[in-house]
Subunit: 195 residues, 2 copies
């Protein structure tokens, strides 16, 4: 339970996150993971209880990050478009901070066993509903156009959640700028504003 053990466990989880992203959870074996850490497969089990425990810690850890990022924004008394813009920026920030873990969170959660899968899906639906409320509010205030709410919220999430598949943090677009441009594109569209 000393510092060394804790740190080693984190190394294991970090490397597993990387492999789960690249190959997928099911196609990543404990031997793959052990090899890329330079140890034997059996040795992993002095750090973690099971393969799934790693997936659980990634999925629920990220769920917690997303949830907390939204907490501050939700109750502010500002226009819906500003609230949405801040929500998008917060979500983008969490993803950009850890692209590998985000990819696993987004694509591999389905390999959680019960009751973890059920719990995870509840957290996710709650989070989505909080964004949905912001959009509904904006529509009822006639700030946003009157459109299918599910389509609007899913379009926003999909745009944000595809990021791990293309965003290069070393590229010319930095995290802050990315969040701003994404929010602007979704709220104001691709077309030039009329003068």
């Amino acid at each position: 339970m000393g510092t060394i053990n804790i740190s080693r466990k984190q190394q294991v989880i970090l490397k597993a996150t990387e492999l789960f992203k690249i190959k997928g959870y099911a196609a990543t074996s404990m031997r793959d993971l052990a090899n890329s850490l330079g140890i034997e497969a059996a040795s992993l089990y002095s750090h973690i209880k099971s393969k799934e425990e790693i997936l659980q810690s990634i999925c629920f850890g990220m769920a917690d990050e997303f949830t907390r990022a939204l907490n501050a924004i939700e109750t502010e008394d500002i226009p819906s478009s500003e609230k949405l813009q801040k929500g998008i920026a917060a979500h983008t920030e969490v993803i950009a901070r850890d692209l590998d873990a985000s990819a696993v969170f987004l694509n591999e959660y389905r390999h959680l066993s019960q009751p973890f899968l059920r719990d995870f899906l509840l957290l996710r639906i709650n989070y989505i509903n909080r964004f949905k409320k912001i959009i509904q509010e904006g529509i009822s205030r006639r700030e946003f156009k009157d459109m299918d709410e599910k389509l609007a919220v899913m379009t926003i999430f999909s745009s944000l959640n595809w990021m791990p598949n293309w965003y290069n943090p070393m590229g010319e677009l930095d995290k802050k700028e990315l969040g701003k441009q994404l929010a602007n594109l979704l709220i104001n569209g691709l077309n030039q504003k009329p003068l």
Copy 2:
């Protein structure tokens, strides 16, 4: 090679598509597939050569559908926003026509072995670049706002490609309306137009 064999092979691929979507390619065993067809695992091999052959036929079949849907649109002499709107509608139509195969195409292609993976990725990058050109054209004509092109094209694709995760063809939003609303949201944004 009679009609019965061909039809049975299609049944196998159809059921495999469904399972690959739900459980993922790696986590779906040939015994899972055989069981859900009511036969023994070994019997599958009189219809298909290997597990991966199924994945190949799904991935390359869908790639072909997407490519062909775009062909007619590209060369029309119309405003960029109209071209983009038609491209989005065509892409949406292909996805909505087969949500399961689309999900496999989008998420499971990475389990293709070489040289299939390489070929697949080439087809995909070509397709994305065709959309990118439409956007670049619109920006240079000052029809679209001046923004990061990669971000714009990735945002559009992500919105379209998330559909298999949420769209219910039995719901209140029909395919045509979906394509229209998606294109409208991406091109004009969520905000109300100023009067």
